[in-house]
């Protein structure tokens, strides 16, 4: 599982720019599904055909990042954020563009108080000496994500983009390991989740499934002085009760809880007070779609050092398989 996570988190796939990660996932799954298609927004939809219930499984491919909006005369790049990035988490980070260009994120020297830090006072330095040189490797509109390889330490993995490449890894694993079932399953790797759950809604509209289960990360309450939250790393995947975008359908929740109980898979229940997830747009699409989610407990979400338990991720895959094969 770690190798798959390392591979998937390594790809650059800032929201709206999911080409590279999508291609990587296609290569992983193409021998295990009956049909693969990419829709107008870029969602990757892989189908295991059958005559039974239509189930949609969703994990988002995109990650947060930065977009170049201006290149100054001296070759420094100004940027906008794509998705929810903390300005403080960004200071001193390396970011990587799709073509391999790496930049250092820093802030204007004259800033006296960190409280006044704004993205408009920050820039990316790619080591270019002027605008012309910078434009050889980067153009306006290009996006970059945090750089850095996934690291395994004991049971924990530290990486950028565990949100939601760890979910993608779970779905890829499920595609490979799923036994024969009567259900027709649509595995959807969605786009633009970080910009407002956008891809999941259009994918759900074209699939019109009977039920949907998303796999994404959730926050935890197990770090020093953390916000109170029951979810902890290493205690098993979480079954979502609600977040800011969805109250999960009781039957989907029940299905997941029963699958966990029956198969002895450890699980926790998740109530996420901030943030939304793909079921938020899926459940109100096309007349309404019962939706739920399996969440991977993850510390420091949206930072370059997202941290999660490999055992939780493994168990999330087991839980997903048990839930959708029935």
């Amino acid at each position: 599982m770690f190798d798959l996570i390392k591979k998937l988190t390594g790809a650059v796939g800032v929201s709206g720019n999911e080409e590279e990660i999508r291609e990587l996932i296609i290569q992983e799954i193409k021998d295990y599904v009956d049909e693969i298609r990419v829709d107008a927004l870029g969602n990757l939809i892989a189908v295991k055909k059958s005559k039974g219930k239509k189930i949609m499984v969703a994990a988002h491919m995109d990650e947060i990042g930065l977009m170049v909006t201006h290149i100054d005369e001296k070759g420094f790049l100004r940027f906008s954020t794509v998705g929810g990035i903390s300005r403080f988490d960004s200071i001193g980070q390396r970011v990587r563009f799709k073509n391999g260009t790496v930049g250092a994120v820093y802030y204007e020297d004259k800033l006296e108080d960190m409280k006044d830090l704004r993205f408009s006072k920050m820039y990316i330095d790619i080591g270019a000496s002027n605008r012309e040189e910078a434009e050889k490797s980067v153009k306006i509109g290009d996006t970059a994500c945090f750089a850095g390889e996934a690291v395994k330490q004991g049971d924990m993995v530290i990486s950028k983009a565990l949100d939601d490449r760890s979910g993608c890894a779970v779905v890829v694993k499920a595609i490979k390991d799923l036994p024969q079932t009567d259900n027709e399953i649509y595995f959807v790797f969605t786009v633009q989740e970080e910009l407002g759950l956008r891809g999941a809604g259009t994918a759900a509209y074209s699939i019109k499934p009977d039920m949907a289960i998303a796999v994404d990360v959730t926050m935890t309450g197990d770090t020093p002085e953390s916000h109170a939250m029951e979810v902890k790393c290493g205690r098993g995947p979480a079954i979502k009760i609600k977040d800011r975008s969805v109250i999960c359908h009781p039957q989907v929740r029940k299905l997941l809880e029963e699958a966990a109980e029956k198969n002895g898979i450890p699980y926790q229940l998740e109530i996420l007070e901030a943030g939304g997830s793909d079921p938020g747009s899926i459940h109100i699409t096309a007349g309404g779609i019962p939706s739920g989610a399996i969440s991977i407990p993850c510390r420091y979400v949206h930072s370059p050092v997202e941290t999660a338990s490999l055992k939780d991720i493994e168990n999330a895959a087991r839980l997903l398989i048990e839930a959708i094969k029935a």
């Binding site: 709206g16 990419v38 201006h70 906008s80 954020t81 794509v82 509109g141 509209y205």
Partner: protein, 345 residues
């Protein structure tokens, strides 16, 4: 160019009738079929030589404004409709209701304000509209709660090819769209004049659902902040530097291949073009992009300084750049219709 006529009409969100009637009359001269949907969107269909592809062009008819909420003594209390910077309001001239009763936005005079009030901006709740009435009875005779209120501002040409008007956002789009309707293309064209953009992109999604297009381009008036005391990297757009393409905003991430195609089309034809450097704000593309199974979208806009005010300013040259660019793009898509399907990933 019908900008004078279009900007002097009133069409505050939810009350687009006057604008719609004017556009409808013009559109009927060129469209194959014209329909108004239940929300008030005006959908003008122009049949193409082939019906294999449908392209939707949209511009919103509505503008920001106000609504009468009640009365206090001899003046009108009001609420804003759409995003308005309240600091620009004191002293603004307005027209109230269908009878277009002239009024002015007033507030407590400066010599009666205490020290603290003077140091701060007057808040919206401290403002009122004065239509010269003596008392509440007269106000009630002339107006009614729920009456729409629009900025009053004459279209004026000045300076080097510049225009001052209210509602350039988005009558510039409407004016371009009416020009485009005169053309005929290989594909089916749906020119959609949408409603209620300023209160949350409400009409466009409904129109896109009905049209179910293969590709959509939104024509807009967008912010322009190339003014003193703004850093160059914070300029959203620059007046006079041509048609504006959106890379990303709060509501949409336009299709990259389509945006690049439009940018290249501009360069090939020596049409001034620029990218919008800020990613705030949003427009109808956001709703259209997410309609049904997803739609390939892009936005082409005219830079407008002091947008959402009675004195928006734009350059006629930018308008020409935008219109030329849209035409060239449509010509190219018409010349090779297979391009239309090629932007999907």
């Amino acid at each position: 160019m019908l900008l004078k006529e279009l900007t002097e009409l009133n069409g505050v969100s939810g009350n687009e009738d006057e604008v719609r009637e004017f556009i409808k009359k013009e559109a009927l001269l060129h469209a194959t079929e014209v329909k108004v949907d239940s929300m008030g969107n005006l959908i003008c269909y122009k049949k193409g030589k082939s019906s294999e592809y449908k392209i939707m062009l949209s511009a919103h008819m509505d503008e920001v404004g106000f609504i009468v909420t009640g009365y206090k003594d001899g003046v009108i209390k009001f609420s804003p409709i759409g995003g308005i910077d309240e600091r620009i309001l004191p002293g603004a001239r307005v027209l109230v209701g269908d009878k277009k009763i002239p009024g002015v936005i007033g507030s407590k005079p400066i010599h009666l304000q205490d020290k603290e009030e003077r140091g701060n901006n007057i808040k919206l709740k401290g403002m009122y509209i004065d239509i010269g009435a003596d008392n509440k009875e007269e106000l009630e005779r002339l107006t009614s709660p729920g009456d729409y209120i629009a900025f009053y501002s004459k279209y004026t040409e000045f300076g080097d090819n510049c225009i001052k008007a209210k509602a350039l956002d988005d009558r510039v789009g409407c004016a371009m769209l009416l020009e485009i309707l005169k053309e005929s293309y290989q594909f089916d064209l749906y020119a959609c004049f949408t409603v209620q953009e300023e209160v949350g992109l409400r009409g466009a999604g409904v129109a896109a659902y009905t049209v179910n297009p293969d590709l959509a381009i939104v024509l807009e008036g967008t912010t322009c902040s190339d003014v003193p005391d703004v850093n160059e990297h914070e300029y959203s757009t620059v007046m006079g530097q041509g048609a504006v393409l959106t890379l990303m905003d709060r509501t949409s991430y336009p299709n990259k291949k389509l945006v690049e195609f439009i940018y290249n089309t501009a360069r090939e034809n020596n049409i001034p073009v620029q990218y919008k450097k800020t990613t705030t704000g949003g427009n109808d593309a956001g709703k259209i992009q997410l309609t049904r199974g997803g739609v390939v979208v892009a936005s082409i806009s005219v830079p407008c300084r002091y947008i959402h005010s009675p004195v928006s300013v734009m350059s006629k040259k930018d308008f020409e750049s935008c219109l030329n660019l849209v035409k060239k793009v449509l010509d190219k898509l018409s010349g090779d219709a297979s391009l239309i399907g090629s932007f999907k990933d």
